[in-house]
Every structure is written in C-alpha cells, then in structure tokens.
Point group: C2
Chain length 123, copies 2
C-alpha cells in the first residue's frame, strides 16, 4: 500500500473517534518509535501503559509492540484490534491469530473493550 | 522448550565454533536487549553492525532483529541462519521464508556466508 504523506491513504479513517487532545506521530518505518518523537511524547506525558491497535498485524503493529515492550512499557490490546490482509502463507484471520498468540505469551495483556488505558497507540 | 539457566538445554551447541574472546549475554525474554547488558556491551565495543543468527525464527530472532533495528544498528544475516519448528499454521520452512521476507523488506540485508561482520549475535 502506498502510504505517502499527504495522499488519501495517509488520511485518518472517518470512522475514528477523533478528539481535540489527540496527538499524532508521522512515521516512516514499521516501528512507530523509529526516528519519531513518540518516545519523548510518552516520557513527557508519563505514559507507561499503552493500548495498541492498528494495521497491519504482522508489520507495523508487531514491530511497535516488540519495540514498546523492549522500552519497558506495559502493553494492552483488545483482541482483534489489529488488521491485515491475506498473504501467500496465511489468511487474514490466521495471521491475526498467529501473532496474537505470540503477543499474548510474551508482550502484552489482552483486555476487554470496556477497559480504558492511559494512552492509546493507533499504529 | 525449557531453557532454564543451568540445564542441558541452556548449554551451547557443541557444533559452535567457540572462541576465547566470545562474550555471552544471559537473557530471560525473547528480546536479547531486554534487561540484559547487550546494549552497553555493544556501545563499549562500538559495534554498529550486527550479524544475526539463532533460534527461534518467529520468537527470539524476530524480536531481537526488530529491537536492534529500532536502536539504529545495521543488521546483516546469512539466509537460512535462523531455525524453528513446525507450528499449527506454518511448516518450519514456511515460517523461515515468511519472516525472512519481512526482515529483508524492512530490517536487514542478507549477505553471503563468506562475508564477516564486526559483531555476530547468536540468539
């Protein structure tokens, strides 16, 4: 997918509940911490607990989860809160199940959609 | 696999070419940088280029690659230099191919086995 800055694909989905106080980080690599100010924004706001969601499961979401865990953040996620597409090895559903099992065993805690975390990272 | 420190599974494989000057990091999480002194060892030795190999492909190797890339290291790998086992979605070979494609597109450069990097990380 072409996610060049300024293109239509770069825009936020209209279904998102956008708030005045939301912060945005423009990233250029799968890892949302890579050459961005995400880490300093989180330190400023003393966020140590992150709720993760976004796309794509096996690319940006997986990489950002592993980096955030490595930085010491406690991570939470609503099951199914990442999305992807079929690939030559796995269907969309298999990909999500495969990665969610790795994440749950090693990196994050799955939570009910009713719970609210301090910081949400939409990848 | 039970990799408790001090057990037989914790020992180095006898096939490894062990050298006097080798350094070891005892890790407790998939990520070789997580709560270990790997980052400070690399800074001391001014290693900015890492060659990656090890097991398992989709666990320790994948996580350490993503973390090392996020820290700014240049990464190299010999194709096929990670290992794993079949899982319920993918065979061993499919797993390695799937992850190597993600790595090559985003995190590292594949090299010929004859090339020597400055630092090798065996995961």
């Amino acid at each position: 997918m072409n996610l060049t800055r300024g293109t239509i694909a770069w825009q936020l989905l209209s279904e998102l509940d956008v708030r005045e106080e939301d912060l945005y980080v423009n990233k250029t690599q799968l890892n949302a911490f890579y050459q961005t100010d995400l880490q300093s924004l989180l330190i400023q706001r003393q966020g140590d607990e992150l709720e993760i969601c976004g796309a794509q499961t096996e690319y940006c979401v997986d990489t950002t989860i592993k980096m955030a865990h490595g930085f010491g953040y406690r991570l939470e996620m609503v099951p199914g809160a990442s999305s992807t597409v079929d690939n030559k090895f796995l269907t969309l559903r298999q990909t999500i199940q495969y990665f969610e099992e790795i994440w749950e065993q090693n990196f994050l805690k799955f939570i009910s959609p009713d719970l609210q975390s301090k910081c949400n990272i939409i990848n």
